[in-house]
């Protein structure tokens, strides 16, 4: 099993979600994070103009079994893409075990 961490634009989230569903990945958790990276945005407040690299992004945590890894990644790569700096990243981490609390079942059947 792998854990796929995707950091995407909040504005792309609904499309990404659709894309994931279309590859039967209907199980994940997400939350908002602040990202620091190449992208910068400008702001103005009371006459002070400033630009910041701290941008609100959405962080998706998706644990999938091997067969799903690739299509999940591709789905995100497609749907989160705009081509402008700041589209975000995807990271893949190993997962050793998984449990479904409701049924106590373990392994990949517990994922969905």
């Amino acid at each position: 099993m792998k854990k796929i961490e995707a950091i995407i634009r909040k504005s792309r989230f609904s499309d990404v979600k659709k894309a994931l569903h279309s590859v039967e990945v209907n199980f994940f958790s997400y939350w908002d994070v602040t990202g620091v990276g190449n992208e910068k945005v400008g702001h103005v407040y009371r006459g002070v103009t400033y630009s910041t690299a701290d941008i609100q992004r959405r962080f998706l945590s998706i644990v999938v079994s091997e067969p799903f890894v690739e299509k999940t990644i591709n789905a995100i790569l497609e749907s989160a893409y705009t081509g402008e700096v700041g589209d975000g990243k995807i990271f893949v981490l190993p997962v050793e075990e998984a449990y479904r609390i409701r049924t106590k079942e373990t392994g990949k059947t517990s994922l969905n």
Binding site: S11, S14, H43, V44
Partner: protein, 405 residues
Amino acid sequence: MELLTINNVWMMICTALVFFMHLGFSFLEIGLTRQKNTINILFKNFFVITAGLIIYCLIGFNLMYPGEWIIDGVLGKIVPGLDAAAAADLSYNEGYTYWTDFLFQGMFAATAATIISGAVAERIKINSFILIAILYVTIVYPIVGSWHWGTGFFYDLGFYDFAGSTLVHSVGGWGALVVIYFLGARKGKFDENGNPLAITGSNIPLSAAGVLILWLGWFGFNGGSVLSADPSLTSLTLVTTCLAAAAGGIGAAVLSRVLYNNLDLTMFMNGVLGGLVGITAGADQMLPTSAIFIGLIAGGIVVLSVALLDKCKLDDPVGAIPVHLFCGIWGTLAVGIFGEMAGFDQFMIQLACVGITGVFCIILGTIITLFVRAVAGLRVDEKEEVQGLDIAEHGTRAYGDFRVN
């Protein structure tokens, strides 16, 4: 002299209360919309209040209360600015001074534009809104107003609209309807199949506060429309106003409980406003019981028309049209059904004037909207809409320290 002083004090207080309604509208609107558009909505409201007042000072006031008519009873002659000479003369009116008159009416004027501002929230280009608001407040509102309050042809017809169910609320409501028709719904308000989705408000407590503030403001809106402090008229007006508001809320809450099996606070709130708009046309004509009836029905109208708009794929985030347009029409007609003026003839007159107002507002509203669309476009581009207008148009967030969705 004493009497003028008393009356004028009352009118000034009512003016202050009507002014305060703008906070009510602002709270209502930002609470029922998403946080990412909050600053944009507030900016629009601040603009409407400030620019509205200045414009009304420069043009509107004289256009609405014409000394002379260009087209008799239909279009007044424009005499810009205020008339300090007339102001000096205290015999101007025994109910208020010239200055009070202007300010009271000026506070009303902005209301019409504010009604539009709520309905078009979260997707309109701010410059386009500003243009629309200015044109509407400068032209449509004072002209329609002149027909009745400026003793124009509505007045001659025997039309009755005590404090503006039609002249203020419907006029604003019609404008809102026209603009959102051309503007289109917010992204995410309807799914592929056109079924309505819920875009929940970001700050219901502020909306609730807005409603109570509006109710308070109505003490002045209706109470001041007596145009004097006459004890029985003013106090009767406040009683009918409050009972209708209460009944409107109850009516909407009960109906939405029945229809949707849910205790829906936002419907309750809109119901209160519906009741207030509904009683506005006849607040000085009704007995308490009639006021309660008018309110109950207004509350029902709100709930049903919210659903109706969804059916028509029209997106009105704050329920401005159910409240101001539909309940405004209802209230105007109710003058022919309940209270001292009730009667078939009166009803027909009310109906006729409601119709004329509608046609006029739709036509001019359409012209204005299409004109603005041509010169400036109406809608922000999708990227800005998704990102939110606060960042896109104002470069900052409304709730800077808070984690938001």
